[in-house]
Amino acid sequence: MTLAALLIPLVGGVLAWATPGRARGAVAVLAAVAAFVAALFLPTAAPVDVAWLPAFGAGLRLDPSGASSVLVLAAALAMIPTVLTAAVRVRERTGTFLGLLLIMQAMLAGLFLASDLLAFYVFWEAALIPSLVLLGVFGGERRRGAVTKYLIYAVSGSFLMLVSIIAVRVLSGAESFAFHELAPAARELDAVTQGWLFAGFAAAFVVKLPLFPLHSWLIDFHRENHPSGAADVAGTLYKVGGFGFFAWAIPLLPDGALVLQPYLLTAAAVTALWGALAATRQEDLKSLLAYASLSHMGLIGVGLFSLTEIGLAGAMLLLAAQMLSTGGMFLLSGMMHARRGSFALDRFGGLARSAPALAAVSLFVIFAAIGVPGLSNFPGEFLALLGAAQASVFLAAVALASVIAAGVYGVNLYQRLYQGRQVEGTHDLRAVEVAILAPIVAGVLWFGLAPANAADRIDDGARVAVHGPDRPVPAEGGAASEPPLATAGGER
């Protein structure tokens, strides 16, 4: 079943590519749904271990436990409406688009599930190609520049990571690239070495996260992508730098993380605020969403670099949740574009009158994106910032300020689109649009109201990240013997 989560979209992608005519949309949607169903069974699935380069202890090792299954599931859920959107909205080379989306999903599943560092790297790079091609083939007029920028940013970081990946195994003397063998050995390295190795990983992850000031590819990426928004969702799902920190860099090199923590935490807090502030001043829907999503990445960053179990878990929860909320926003932006042929905010206004249902869903997703409790982003945002506050109250406050700015850009956006005098009427949600938005709404509610299931699984990973893989899982209620959080209040 673990392999199925990877193979179903892969095969589905190839089939969708090869299928002629309108049937390919159906094939693609079917594959996406099947992949989602397969992802549902992941928590109980068995790990996979296929040799690849045994001389170097590298193999296709997939482990569906922990945070992996949550992220695969969230991505699979977000992919259903995305594929549907692409099937409806992409008129030329539809098969290519659908195929790329699904292949991308397969690579992401591999990336999340990998429990072998080299396999992780392979999927990491392999996922780059479809997103690059989606932008290159289906992008806007200035896509060449965007592609080049995206590529340079992405590979500069990830090639450096490759050096760290090799060095961490060579220096630690681990038997293989498998997490369970690599982590105990790597954690024994001295802090300076760990710091350098961590820097190598950080080079890739910070760019992909992205953190200020290495984020400018993200803005161009979204601005130039296909107006349906489907490719943007793929890009959103591929914002996996945080996952890299969570699943690899921090658990392997905790002392290295500690060395770089001050810089990374600062950068993350600045990113959160910077993105949110910039989002308040955008006149273009896609740019606004890009900056907003940058701000979310900053919040994920402060959670990660708090290096607390709560912060790390919150960061992953937010990463999973924003796949749905940010993805939903981009799909909605595509619907807006379908109505007006433009992303310029001044082309819109007062649409709540002629399209009340669209307005309601938009508001719902906007609120989810800006972290209104009860909706998807809140639990992760809350826990990430909570963790960050244990590391630095000041930086947590800086990042928290982004929550206020998020309120500004969120309601601004809604006001610009839906309130005020109606510029020009439009039609309300069509049936297919309802079908596209339904999974998003369901996912947003699920993550918002009952994140416990996901949080539990993510927490397992966070515990490993903070305490190391060999520490036994504490029994129920066993945590009472020690203070649960790193606390500042010793006054008790």
Binding site: L277, P373, G387, I404, Q415, G489, R492
Partner: protein, 645 residues
């Protein structure tokens, strides 16, 4: 669920169901039906609240916990959702659902003919759902869910008539101001979780009592909670959104921006009373913020010309009273004032709504007057509510306000933080309150009509769905105070009911107990304050027919007061401008510095590429020379390193 008190846990669900029905199917429903569904949903909640109230009243163990579902449990921090049904939450619930039901009922008449009425009732129900969650939550996180939920509902209702830009702007302002408070709330939770390892309110309260008295951590948490409360309850310096919030439909103002949501800040502090009980510093900040707000808002209220804005500033001012009460440690008194205020302020707002309705949307006090004759029920209920808020003895506002004054003076919790000053300010505000409320009533209902005659001729009393709530609210404006009579001489039900719920028997708040004659004297002073205020009003508006006010009204001072004492202007200049400037700066920097800067680096790479290609001259001899030079350098280097070793 065998416990009848626990049934009230269904109240949020009922309201949510109402919201969903109206939200999804409302457009298919005919005019009154959406309102009836919504009213029934809240009314059922009210019945459940009453049942819970009675069930708890009849026994000793007055605290029921209802576990809902595990929200998340991460890193040893358990964030399960659960409800706590205790005297404090139930009393508040009863007020919210009770007043809520009445206002829903009123809205059926008020919103008839508006094509968004289904949306209106859906949002109103959504608000009630969120508010009941807020009240029932046993943990900070669930409380925060309700907390932001009411903020969202409030945002949507303020901007209900979204086609007018000003309304949408007002809604946005309210939302952002609330978000600032929310950020404080979040930070308070972060510190709390860090200090105590839990966000379960009862556990936090218990743990707080175990900490050192006046500890810095508790002080910080307290101040942050105050920021949260100030945002929601429109206290300084976050008060400016509430007057603007009057852009929403008037029943909304009555329900959300007078009776219920804005008291959430008071509720929050009462709920976390032990934290404040352990830190006089934070309490003093609360109290003084409250006092300052009360004064500022009262002054602003005097100068308002909008029938609703007077009431809005009055609400801010009364909330300041409540903050003083929680600040000095008289938590039950604060809730008492919340309780009485809910009735008379709702009555006043609905009265205003009734008038606006009758005048076809007119809100300017300067074009009203003499309406009492045409609208006898509205006029009479408004009079009763006016007297109640002004502090006329035996009406509800008198008792609760007097209790606040008394406790402000006798608090020893705030020793060293100027309790006498607090008392003095509050007394002054009491005088001002009586004055501006007299002015308000007189300008609307007494004297002669100042608008055009045709409008006046069309004025008529509101339909029954609107007057019945008015009458009920007026009745409670009279009687609600009797639950909390001055304890030194009379039986006081409320104190015994609320005090265990707020302080939980963990700590007790110290107050001086002056001699009996002093207590009577203070009571007399309170009566006198109301008398002075009303008398002043009578002199200005009845005896001199408003002449002093007219002379004053055109001046700069009045304009300043009308503008909310310049807070808005200052914020626009300082923060809005500052934040926008910063955001503009960020947006520009992001493009020019970050983007172009890194692009520049990319261009530099291209230059390297050109350099690498430029050494290709194509000439054989150059290539040979390069090779030979490299060989010579290599040999020299080897000779050098060889010589060194």
């Amino acid at each position: 669920m065998n416990d009848p008190a626990a049934w009230v846990a269904l109240a949020p669900l009922l309201a949510l169901a109402g919201a969903l029905i109206n939200g999804l199917a409302g457009r298919a429903m005919r005019a009154p039906r959406a309102g009836i569904v919504a009213t029934a949903a809240v009314g059922a909640g009210f019945v459940l609240s009453l049942i819970a109230l009675l069930a708890l009243a009849g026994r000793d163990d007055r605290s029921v916990s209802v576990a809902l579902w595990p929200y998340a449990s991460v890193g040893g921090l358990d964030l399960s959702f659960g409800f706590l049904i205790d005297p404090l939450s139930v009393l508040m619930l009863t007020v919210v659902t009770g007043v809520g039901t009445l206002i829903h009922l009123f809205s059926i008449g008020y919103m008839r003919g508006d094509d968004g009425h289904a949306r209106y009732f859906a949002l109103l129900n959504l608000f009630v759902a969120a508010m009941t969650v807020l009240l029932l939550a046993d943990g900070f996180v669930l409380l925060f869910v309700g907390w932001e939920g009411v903020g969202v509902a409030s945002y949507l209702l303020i901007g209900f008539w979204y086609r007018t830009r000003a309304n949408a702007d007002a809604a946005r302002k309210a939302f952002v101001m609330n978000r600032i408070g929310d950020a404080g709330f979040l930070m308070a939770m972060f510190l709390t979780a860090g200090a105590f390892g839990t966000l379960h309110i009862a556990s936090v309260n218990e743990a707080a009592v175990g900490m050192a008295f006046g500890s810095a951590t508790l002080g910080a948490i307290g101040v942050l909670l105050l920021i949260a409360a100030a945002g929601k309850s429109a206290q300084l310096p976050l008060q400016t959104w509430l007057p603007d919030a009057m852009a929403g439909p008037t029943p909304v103002s009555a329900l959300i921006h007078a009776a219920t949501m804005v008291t959430a800040g008071v509720y929050l502090i009462a709920r976390t009373a032990p934290i404040f009980a352990m830190t006089p510093f934070a309490s003093a900040v609360v109290a003084w913020i409250g006092a300052a707000t009360a004064l500022v808002a009262a002054i602003a209220a005097i100068a308002q010309t909008d029938v609703k804005k007077v009431l809005a500033y009055s609400t801010v001012s009364q909330l300041g009273f409540m903050f003083v009460a929680v600040g000095v440690g008289a938590y039950w008194v604060a809730i008492f004032h919340v309780f009485t205020h809910a009735f008379f302020k709702a009555a006043l707002f609905l009265g205003a709504g009734s008038v606006i309705h009758a005048l076809g949307g007119e809100q300017d006090l300067r074009r009203m007057g003499g309406l009492g004759a045409k609208m006898p029920i509205t006029g009479l209920t408004a009079l009763i509510a006016t007297l109640a808020i002004a502090g006329v003895p035996l009406l509800s506002g008198f008792f609760s306000k007097d209790a606040i004054l008394l406790h402000a003076l006798t608090s020893t919790h705030l020793d060293g933080y100027g309790t006498t000053g607090l008392y003095g300010v509050l007394l002054l505000v009491a005088v001002l309150t009586a004055f501006y409320m007299f002015r308000w009533y007189h300008r609307v209902f007494a004297g002669r009509f100042r608008g055009d005659a045709k409008t006046f001729a069309a004025v008529h009393e509101a339909p029954a769905t609107m007057t019945v709530p008015l009458v009920v609210l007026a009745a409670f404006s009279v009687g609600a105070g009797w639950l909390g009579l001055p304890a030194f001489a009379f039986p006081n039900v409320l104190q015994g009911w609320l005090e265990p719920a707020t302080l939980g028997g963990l700590v007790s708040m110290p107050f001086d107990h002056p001699a009996l004659w002093v207590e009577w004297l203070l009571l007399g002073v309170a009566v006198a304050a109301a008398g002075v205020g009303l008398g002043l009003g009578a002199w200005v508006y009845v005896a001199r027919d408003g002449a002093p006010a007219r002379r004053f009204g055109d001046g700069a001072v009045a304009a300043f007061a009308r503008g909310g004492l310049g807070f808005d202007a200052a914020y626009r200049a300082l923060f809005v401008g500052g934040a926008q400037g910063a955001a503009d700066g960020v947006a520009v920097l992001d493009r020019d510095l970050v983007d172009r800067g890194l692009l520049g680096a990319g261009t530099a790479l291209g230059t390297f590429g050109r350099a690498a290609a430029a050494i290709q001259t194509g000439r054989v001899r150059t290539y040979a020379a390069t090779m030979f030079a490299a060989l010579v350098i290599l040999l020299l280097l080897l000779a050098w390193t060889g010589a060194r070793t």
